[in-house]
């Protein structure tokens, strides 16, 4: 371009606030049904064991999702993904994990890759997640399921998955299971994430850091050794304040930042705990719960999340970066802390207005 006379459109922002498009680095949008009754049990003080004993948990959603026809599931996921865009997220990490069969999980990958091509959808980072739980047909045989799921990973990469995740806590997969699955994932070219949920297996976070995982997520109970391992390997952490609220445990985000650990943020939208698709709400909560400044939280929700996903072409506004931007209904970034869900006025993705 020689000069400004070649500009096709001029947009007057009117003195308002503009940031990069937000990046949700952790969510579970591919499911059918809801678990409101279960959430009500949580609210009354039920434990995870109580929920499982009552027949709830991930397996409930697996049953409903398996019984939902593909078109109904596709329409639900499309409508759900649109909510992220409306609240300012231009990139979303989207996990599979509610079919837990080879064909169902691979279909979820293809569904997400297909939806991403439609107008008005966020850009997606697709994470293959068969290790979300042990499916009913493998109850009592978790090792056999882990070996089976590992054999699906090369197909997942071929189907368009960007990464693989393993849920590792005392009621899901062991550190050894996670090490094996993540190692296979790396060997087929997938980015690797450890889902270090409510009560992570001892040593799992350190294993993931030493293995060179792309990110370790949630880390509600990370200890000092975990923190040092993450810091020494510069392994990114994705923190999800809505889940921390739900679990009533706060990850050591301030200490992670102070030790130089890269931090991203996510909604952890899922049918059992958190229904929010709003990264502006996540920023507000990160400021109030994680002792982050507004700029730290904004940075985590943009460049930090993009870094955790290995997407180095977004999350910042600089020459050569993707033109993913948001104009907010505010004239100062402090509004993120105050609003508990700042509203968007306009969203651009790749230079085009999509909201």
């Amino acid at each position: 371009m020689e000069d400004l006379t070649e500009v096709d459109e001029v947009v007057n922002i009117g003195g308002g606030l503009v940031t990069p498009g937000l990046v949700d680095a952790h969510c579970h949008p591919v499911y059918a049904g809801d678990r409101y009754a279960e959430v009500n049990m949580w609210a009354k003080g039920a434990t995870r064991a109580d929920i499982f004993a009552a027949g709830g948990g991930v397996s409930t959603t697996v049953t409903i999702t398996r019984g939902t026809d593909p078109w109904t599931l596709c329409n639900a996921v499309r409508e759900r993904l649109r909510h992220w865009v409306l609240s300012g997220s231009t990139t979303v990490e989207a996990k599979t994990g509610y079919h837990l069969t080879r064909d169902g999980e691979l279909a979820d990958v293809r569904l997400l890759r297909s939806l991403e091509e439609e107008p008005g959808m966020p850009r997606l980072h697709v994470t293959f997640f068969p290790a979300h739980g042990v499916p009913p047909e493998f109850f009592g045989r978790p090792k056999e399921y882990v070996a089976t799921a590992a054999s699906w990973l090369s197909d997942a990469a071929m189907a368009g998955a960007d990464g693989v995740d393993v849920y590792c806590d005392n009621q899901q997969f062991t550190t050894e299971d996670a090490h094996m699955l993540l190692g296979v994932g790396q060997s087929v070219g997938l980015r690797t994430t450890l889902h270090a949920c409510s009560r992570p297996r001892h040593g799992a976070v350190r294993m993931a850091a030493e293995l060179g995982c792309s990110s370790v997520d949630l880390v509600h109970e990370a200890d000092d050794e975990d923190l040092l391992a993450l810091a020494s390997t510069r392994t990114p952490v994705v923190a999800c304040p809505t889940t921390a609220l739900h679990e009533r445990r706060t990850p050591p985000v301030r200490a992670l930042l102070d030790h130089g650990v890269p931090v991203g943020l996510g909604t952890d939208h899922n049918p059992g705990q958190s229904g929010t698709t709003s990264m502006p709400l996540v920023i507000s909560l990160a400021v109030s719960m994680f002792e982050m400044t507004v700029q730290e939280a904004l940075n985590a929700a943009t460049a930090g999340s993009a870094h955790a996903l290995g997407l180095n072409d977004r999350g910042m506004i600089a020459p050569g970066m993707l033109a993913d931007l948001v104009q907010w209904d505010a004239d100062h970034e402090g509004a993120f802390a105050w609003s508990m869900g700042l509203h968007t006025l306009r969203v651009w993705q790749g230079g085009r207005t999509i909201h």
């Binding site: 459109e9 003195g15 503009v18 904004l298 999350g315 506004i317 600089a318 020459p319 970066m321 100062h332």
Partner: protein, 46 residues
């Protein structure tokens, strides 16, 4: 190829720094230029 200029941005968080009275030039799907609006004419990209 579409070139869009965003002007009169009161506060712009770039991910690197906070700018006031800023402008952004988008060239197709990429950011072509970002900075203080007053510097735009002389800094427009080639």
């Amino acid at each position: 190829m579409t070139v869009v200029l965003l002007t009169n941005i009161g506060r712009l968080w770039t991910g690197i720094e906070l700018l006031t009275k800023a402008a952004i030039l988008m060239d197709d799907d990429r950011i072509a230029w970002v900075g203080h609006a007053a510097e735009l004419p002389s800094a427009s990209p080639e």
